[in-house]
Symmetry: C2
């Protein structure tokens, strides 16, 4: 298929497919795919903008996930950033770098995943770009969102005495990826699913933005140590985490044992979880536990990060080390 | 340099360098680089969004242009899309895919070019992404803009009897690229400059949006035939171009002759010009000639594209043929 035909097929999937967020019926989208730029209505007067790229061989492998899952994940990791700001999705741009050896069917299947996730998160894809490359397949999404409350959630704002909380379990995605690497993914379908199909916590992020007692939020993409490190840097504080609070489900412990890796290390350093990490005023902890968040430790005046009082480095996945 | 240090160095260039559009003093930018997403003020209630990727070996070569020129071009090609909508720049996201063999100095020099172009176009870079890749260096920019008038310019709207006009000369960038390919770039510095340093026509695009007699506009990235083809498709009309109107400066004709290529073909099919192609009501042509635009032909009821009455195919640069 030549470039313009492929664009037409992609546009059809994104705007007319059964799972498409039909931009022509979306009051936020005045002009969608097909002009020099998309035209969007932003009545609230404020937007947030973020972007993330998934590169074949770095962030995904076509033999480790189905093309649709890869497309949906490209959306989810971007929406997760919107969620971490307490914002709801507005619109997205989708860019492909396509090596000649990737067939059109794969590209269209990835696009179906993008469309399905766009439908799920109420995120119309309104434009994008296609180019050839001599390198690996790459998917870049730029996502725009609108604040759901009067304030947005940032990495700054953590106060001494606040409690560090997290949604869901950590390390599952990393263990799932390791299981796929070792060829034993079939044994750990839940962990593999956590790796292949992350879910962006949009309603949780928006609920946290509405609660002034939530002081700081980030999404966990590079591992909790790296991402908590960003909060501590931005807020000028430190933290002490309690290793016994970092519970892992029995499946994860069994997988770690079989894979010969440290389950706690996977939970702390593994990326790809896309849970939200929040710093919450002590008096709000009870309410957020009821909402499914779990406390992991405390914000301290003393800078740096400690696990059970012992200093640890905030080292997660680093793309240029 | 590890990823986080490189991000810090990039951030410094984009926000504190001598040519930086300092986002901290820009009332449009509430939160810039350094959080999960950027937060922008959009008082007008409408935005446009576009994205473009430059891939090493496809769109640029490090031995054909300086890193700063490549960074500036990545901005210009995106701003050109905003200009073609009649919009002024609001903010941009910058994403790098970095092969390990590209040194940090090159990345930072490209970033300086991004910062300089951001300053020139009043376009603060408010966020982005970095990832490693096993493939070539790639630069993706997503640019947001705001309409400068009550309406935006689109690819639709061309009417039978309207005049096709273009800003500037066509084909210069293609001839410059060919001269570099053949190793005789030094002989044709103006043409090479057209290839290396395209200028986005923001004020022209905004002026055209304010004139209701301008019916349709696109920027020329893939060659005038391909890009006029998009206008014709979107507007449901045809066009007849006058080859004698497609003037080339003497330097371009000499270069084409020396390179053994057809100058007219370069003007029609060559991409990378980033001039604006406009379809204008006949009564407005005089005014737009005074503004520096040149008439190239007429919009016809008969569909398809003709050159001096003979049918031609709208084939330009195609990334997947």
């Amino acid at each position: 298929m030549d470039e313009f035909r492929l664009i037409a097929a992609i546009k059809k999937i994104l705007t007319q497919g059964p799972a498409a967020k039909d931009e022509t019926r979306d009051p936020r989208v005045e002009i969608g795919i097909g002009d020099d730029a998309a035209l969007l209505n932003v009545p609230a007067g404020k937007i947030v903008a973020t972007t993330d790229t998934l590169v074949q061989g770095v962030h995904f492998r076509l033999d480790w996930a189905r093309p649709r899952e890869i497309g949906a994940k490209a959306v989810a990791v971007n929406v997760s950033d919107l969620a971490a700001m307490g914002c709801s999705p507005l619109a997205a741009l989708l860019s492909y770098e396509l090596p000649c050896e990737v067939d059109d069917r794969t590209v269209l299947a990835i696009t179906k995943g993008v469309a399905q996730a766009g439908f799920l998160y109420d995120l119309p894809v309104v434009g994008g770009n296609i180019t050839s490359t001599s390198g690996p397949l790459a998917i870049t999404i730029a996502a725009l969102g609108v604040p759901s409350s009067a304030r947005v959630l940032t990495r700054g704002g953590a106060l001494v005495g606040d409690v560090v909380m997290v949604s869901g379990h950590l390390g599952a995605a990393t263990l799932g990826r390791l299981a796929l690497e070792r060829g034993i993914g079939a044994k750990f379908s839940e962990l593999v699913k956590a790796y292949r199909r992350p879910v962006a916590r949009v309603s949780l992020g928006c609920a946290m933005a509405a609660d002034g007692r939530v002081h700081s939020v980030i999404d966990i993409s590079d591992g909790i140590l790296a991402d908590l490190g960003h909060i501590l840097d931005a807020s000028g504080v430190g933290a002490n985490l309690d290793s016994s609070a970092i519970l892992l489900p029995p499946k994860a412990l069994r997988a770690a044992s079989l894979l010969g890796v440290d389950a706690l290390e996977c939970a702390l350093m593994g990326g790809d979880d896309y849970e939200l990490l929040a710093v919450v005023s002590e008096k709000a902890v009870g309410d957020w536990i009821k909402a499914g968040m779990r406390p992991l430790g405390k914000i301290t005046k003393r800078k740096g990060m400690r696990l059970d009082g012992k200093s640890i480095k905030p080292t997660g996945w680093n793309h240029r080390s």
